[in-house]
Amino acid sequence: MKELNVPALARVEGDGGITVTLDGKKVKSVTLDVHEGPRLIEQLVRGMKPEDDVNVVPRICAICTLSHKFAAIRGMEKALDITPPEKADLTRELMMLGENIESNSLHTMLLALPDFLGYPSAVAMLNDYTDDVKRALKLKKFGNHIMEVTSGRIVHGENPIIGGFGKYPGKKALEEIKAKSHEMIPDAARVVELFASLEIPKYADVDSDKVFMSVSAPKKKFHLYGDEILVSNGKDFPADDYKKFTNERVVPHSFAKRSKYNDKTFMVGANARLINMGKRLDGHAADLFKEHFDKRWLRNPLYNNLAQAIEIVWAMESLPDACDKVASMDDPPTEQPMRKTGSGTGAVEAPRGTLYHHYELKDGLVDVADIITPTAQNLDDIEMHMKLAAERMLAEGKKDDEVRLGLEMIARAYDPCISCATHLVTLKRF
């Protein structure tokens, strides 16, 4: 028996590794091992007031901080029977666009791209791709700026609150974002151009179409939140039924929970969003999706990088209208709870996929909290693709280093956030 290890998976967030166990030339198993310690957040917030919970739970992640904030607020507002003002909804959409630009530009250009171009890292790319590396940082900076304007800070902003916003962004700041977004559309389009020009390795292709899940955004729009969940097999479910289609379970080699739908792995993320809602896109993003989408997207997770790139264009094109709408409205008062006991599920699309926050409140305090992150939903799918790819690459006589890189590229394509996915404690009693 031989083991082929990637002890520390680089260019992802958190502490994880890949173990491939070989029996002769046969791949016995491939595991994405999550070593990151458990966070205990769901237990930590029990007994808290809703307004405290929504300040604590975004600390799960410093990059998807606004997705966690938004999912928690949505879950809490349902539990408290609050309908947020329209201006709050629109400002939340705006902040999610900023987070999407920030995260997708970092992942595509600085984390995923070096593998495809044959560089060990973005630092090594700098000499040959100076403008592109700087472009990635400019896009990230702009995304951060939108997050700061809407939420109050670059990381862990506290402006979004249950029932509205502490302070709405001012007209001058919105005008600046609008102007800058026009200016940066070519930068976003360049990211698509780069990823569309790459040859996507076939070793990760599965033989039949995979299952992809995402929210269905309201009003048949393409956006990053919704109360319905779309499955690429044509089915849809209310987000409140998330347990039925995520089916969480534990595995011995990982601190993160796992999910399967109808006993099959599934994928969430940018490609799932485009596969399920791509027809709702408009503008240049729609043209790019039509031009670059093909059936291999349904079989190979490496296309998630290109999907993220197209989303950057979508987000950039969505900003002017979003800014205009927010700027045109007066600041509404914060909506107050209609009840103290109830339950609610908030589903949003974090950059790396669907994120659920479910709360049950009793007499105004958190009784139950359940958070299911995108990475936890993707882990089984990552392992399935890595096993298939390892078998193919070894059968083709690839060297160990090539197999390692191939498997890392697959894991990285999911843009996994291992820190977010670890909230499980296995207690063994002897």
């Binding site: 680089a10 260019r11 992802v12 967030e13 410093a62 990059i63 995260s103 970092l106 992942h107 600085l110 984390l111 890292s121 973005a122 630092v123 090594a124 700098l126 100076t130 590396v133 700087k134 940082l137 400019k138 990230k140 900076k141 951060n144 700026h145 700061e148 800070r153 670059i154 843009d415 956030c417």
Partner: protein, 171 residues
């Protein structure tokens, strides 16, 4: 490459001379890194936030966005030097300061949450800007722990020394 080690109690002038020696022509910028809620990890941020009051255009912290700040500085005309100030574990006495010039900044992997200083330094270097990392040896990383006395002294020292260097270049 010559790293400078400044132990607690060493003469202030030695540190000042070393930083002056690393800084090339043009303005000096301080960019403080770290997490202020984790005791000594916030040393870099505290240095930068304190210097921001007298030097709002030359001192920045993690709160201002690291990549954006670096891009802005890289686009300014003329030479300049950026000092990244960060709490680190250099296996030395708490409060010890180490100045690591550009050529000693090791490349670390980029992660979803972190763009390495090496990439920032490379971008600045391509635009003719010098860089160095100023490391402060931590004692405690306890959450909400507050600065240790040793690191607090190092922070005050760095504020004085950088304040003096930046003040003279600002004149």
């Amino acid at each position: 490459m010559h790293k400078l080690r400044h132990a607690p109690g060493d003469p202030e002038e030695v540190l000042k001379a070393a930083l002056e020696g690393v800084a090339g022509p043009g303005p000096v910028y301080v960019l403080g890194l770290g997490y202020a809620d984790k005791a000594d990890d916030g040393a870099g941020v505290l240095v930068a936030e304190t210097l921001k009051k007298p030097f709002p255009n030359h001192s920045f912290s993690e709160h201002d966005g690291v990549e954006g700040t670096v891009l802005d500085i890289s686009e300014k005309e003329g030479p300049a030097t950026v000092f990244f100030v960060d709490a680190t574990d250099i296996r030395d006495a708490p409060g010890t300061i180490m100045v690591v010039p550009r050529e000693g900044i090791k490349e670390t992997e980029i992660s979803t949450h972190r763009v390495p200083v090496a990439l920032m330094a490379s971008i600045l270097g391509r635009e003719g800007k010098g860089t160095a990392v100023v490391c402060v040896q931590v004692k405690s990383l306890e959450f909400r722990g507050g600065l240790s006395p040793e690191v607090s002294t190092a922070v005050e020292l760095l504020v004085r020394v950088f304040g003096d260097i930046m003040g003279r270049r600002d004149e």
